[in-house]
């Protein structure tokens, strides 16, 4: 395995006596696209600002290319940062914004012109080189911000919710463009987002943060299919979360799960969920297949359909499980038509997992 280009070891950050980060440890390989994902206020921006050097770390260390940069001033770290607000220099043209860093590095006139030209080409803004930031659309400004950081060929690029201020359509488009650009350049991107779709679609690795700590880290598929905790299952995609009252082995990697007096179901799992303290069941709505009570036999959950909501390509059915507590939220299952009355739910996909509380 190669040495990681970015390595965070037990990084913490406090404000007074409130710890907002950590300890957090993760690393990024050369060419990886990593997303820091988490709800608002969980410390994503703070972590990114720690890496860029705008926030001092109170503990642990940040290594760039094997070198500890924790105490290095921001202007000495070779880290490109794309601000959420873009933070373009309003008094400079697009070309001079992009040339700013080169100018500070005393790059020659010709080389500056060449590299600025190349980079603007790359982000598709060559024709706007002489415009001022105020004369650009949001999407164009964002490309300038990316070009301004890229032109210095930093070791890693940090992007703080780069797509959040774009409209929905442009956001989808820029998602693909940004990912393609990162792959072409084989650069390491650390990307902050609170949009799980974005993280799932773009990343090689997702680091899910909650209240300043890493909740789970892995490939998008791992995170989605094998959530560790209720928080992850609920935060990434949507999920039905059911508390288990008893688990018994059923042989062949199957486990017999009792939810209450009336509900018993068999779920597959590689390891004994009891040993890892996983006493909750997470079931994706699309992994629940719904049918009339009489059409199903064997391992299933039973209940009453109490409503539905039409969603275009599918219909969401709300089911009150037999024996469920009255204040428990109804189970959601996807179907292609609406149901009424008594129903049975069977598990059809990979989307049923044991999770920790």
């Amino acid at each position: 395995m190669t040495r990681p280009i970015l390595n965070l070891v037990d990084v913490t950050r406090d404000y007074g006596n409130a710890t907002v980060i950590g300890p957090v440890s993760f690393s990024a390989e050369q060419g990886e696209f990593i997303s820091l994902l988490g709800p608002s206020g969980c410390g994503k921006s703070t972590l990114l600002r720690c890496i860029a050097g705008f926030e001092p770390v109170n503990g642990g260390r940040i290594e760039l290319n094997g070198k500890d940069v924790s105490r290095e001033a921001p202007h000495r770290r070779r880290v490109g940062l794309v601000f959420q607000s873009f933070a373009l220099f309003p008094h400079l043209t697009v070309a001079r914004n992009v040339a700013f860093g080169l100018r500070l590095r005393r790059t020659g006139k010709e080389e500056t012109a060449r590299r600025v030209g190349e980079t603007l080409e790359l982000v598709g803004l060559s024709h706007l080189a002489d415009r001022y930031p105020a004369q650009l659309s949001g999407g164009q400004q964002q490309r300038v911000a990316i070009a301004r950081a890229l032109v210095l060929r930093p070791e890693i690029m940090l992007l703080d919710e780069p797509l959040s201020s774009l409209d929905a359509k442009l956001r989808l488009h820029m998602r693909r463009e940004l990912r393609a650009m990162q792959q072409d350049l084989n650069m390491t991107f650390v990307h902050v987002t609170h949009d799980q779709d974005e993280a799932l679609a773009m990343s090689d690795k997702i680091v899910v943060l909650s209240e300043g700590r890493i909740e789970q880290m892995g490939s998008p598929r791992e995170i989605y299919d094998r959530p560790d905790t209720r928080f992850i299952a609920d935060f990434i995609g949507s999920s039905n979360l059911l508390e288990i009252s008893e688990i018994e082995p059923a042989g062949d990697g199957m486990w017999s799960v009792r939810l209450n007096e009336d509900q018993r179901i068999v779920i597959a799992a590689d390891a004994d969920p009891r040993q890892s303290g996983r006493h909750w069941l997470s079931i994706r709505p699309e992994s629940l297949s719904i049918g009339g009570e009489d059409t199903v036999s064997g391992s299933c959950l039973t209940g009453t359909a109490i409503g539905h909501s039409y969603g275009g390509d599918r219909t969401e059915i709300f089911v009150r499980l037999d024996g469920a507590q009255s204040d428990a939220p109804p189970i959601v299952a996807h179907a292609d038509r609406s149901f009424d009355g008594r129903v049975a739910l069977t598990i059809t996909g990979p989307g049923a997992t044991f999770v920790r509380a």
């Binding site: 202007h75 490109g80 940062l81 607000s85 933070a87 373009l88 220099f89 008094h91 700013f100 860093g101």
Partner: protein
């Protein structure tokens, strides 16, 4: 309703016409009269007063005034930047306290400030005694050009600070961070980002400071003594001591024209700068 409420400004308009426009028109008129012992307003019509303004004695005063005011403005701008910047980038409470601390000298009568300088720098004052202890024999630090500049700078500083604050306020901290992220040292950030982005505040502050300094009376009169003569002192003496009102009027108009030309030039320049 519209028509009637629109007339609410008329009292102040009349006030300004009667007590700003008319007096200045009067000034222009007197400036074109010959001095006369029989008529206080002067008699006849002449350009002689303006000719006098551009002769040796008066011209020297104009040059000295412009020079001292320009130096004071330059120093004032330099000193005001750090303070204005710290005010803008402080937490709310510190910002309020600092604002008040600048506000008090801004609104305090210049007489009180000059009084303080008079004690500090004057005969037998602490500054003189300190120098004497160091073996430098001086009677007073007053009555020199540098002492006038000190007074002018101190007088103009709060105005400069409050001109810079709104301009600096408009600069997003993220822009400064972006500069650092691209490799700029703090001073490079200042020179390449903060200075150009606060140019408008600097221009208006500099104009204000220059206007205040070049028309200052109390500071040069007390801190300059007989060694320094600025336009306002000459006007005062011509009006109240020599009773040469036409000369004073011509000199006043000259100062007004000088300042107006300067303001228009600066406005043109800054407009061109923002037009690009």
């Amino acid at each position: 309703m519209r028509a009637r409420t629109g007339l609410l400004f008329v009292p102040y308009l009349l006030l300004l016409l009667a007590f700003l426009v008319v007096p200045i028109a009067g000034l222009v008129e007197i400036s074109a009269r010959n001095q006369s012992v029989t008529s206080i307003g002067g008699v006849g019509l002449t350009m002689a007063n303006y000719q006098r303004v551009f002769e040796g004695f008066y011209l020297d005063i104009i040059f000295d005034t412009v020079r001292l005011a320009a130096i004071a403005t330059l120093i004032g701008a330099t000193l005001a930047y750090p303070l204005a910047y710290v005010i803008v980038r402080s937490q709310p409470l510190a910002r309020t306290v600092l604002t008040c601390l600048v506000m008090v000298p801004l609104m305090t009568s210049v007489v009180v400030k000059v009084f303080g300088w008079f004690i500090l720098l004057g005969r037998g004052g602490p500054a003189v005694r300190m120098l004497q202890k160091l073996g430098i024999e001086v009677q007073t630090l007053l009555n020199t050009e540098p002492s006038v500049v000190v007074g002018l700078v101190e007088f103009a500083l709060p105005f400069m600070v409050f001109s810079l604050v709104p301009a600096l306020d408009r600069i997003s901290p993220a822009v400064e961070e972006a500069a650092a992220n691209l490799g700029a040292t703090p001073f490079q950030t200042f020179r390449l980002v903060i200075l150009p982005l606060s140019a408008s505040g600097l221009t208006s502050g500099a104009l204000l400071c220059f206007g205040i300094s070049s028309s200052a009376y109390v500071v040069p009169a007390i801190m300059g003594g007989h060694a320094v003569r600025m336009i306002a002192q000459q006007i005062y003496d011509d009006v109240l001591v020599a009773f040469d009102w036409p000369a004073a009027a011509a000199f006043s108009i000259a100062l007004l024209v000088l300042l107006s030309v300067l303001i228009f030039a600066a406005l043109r320049a800054s407009r061109r700068a923002t037009d690009v």
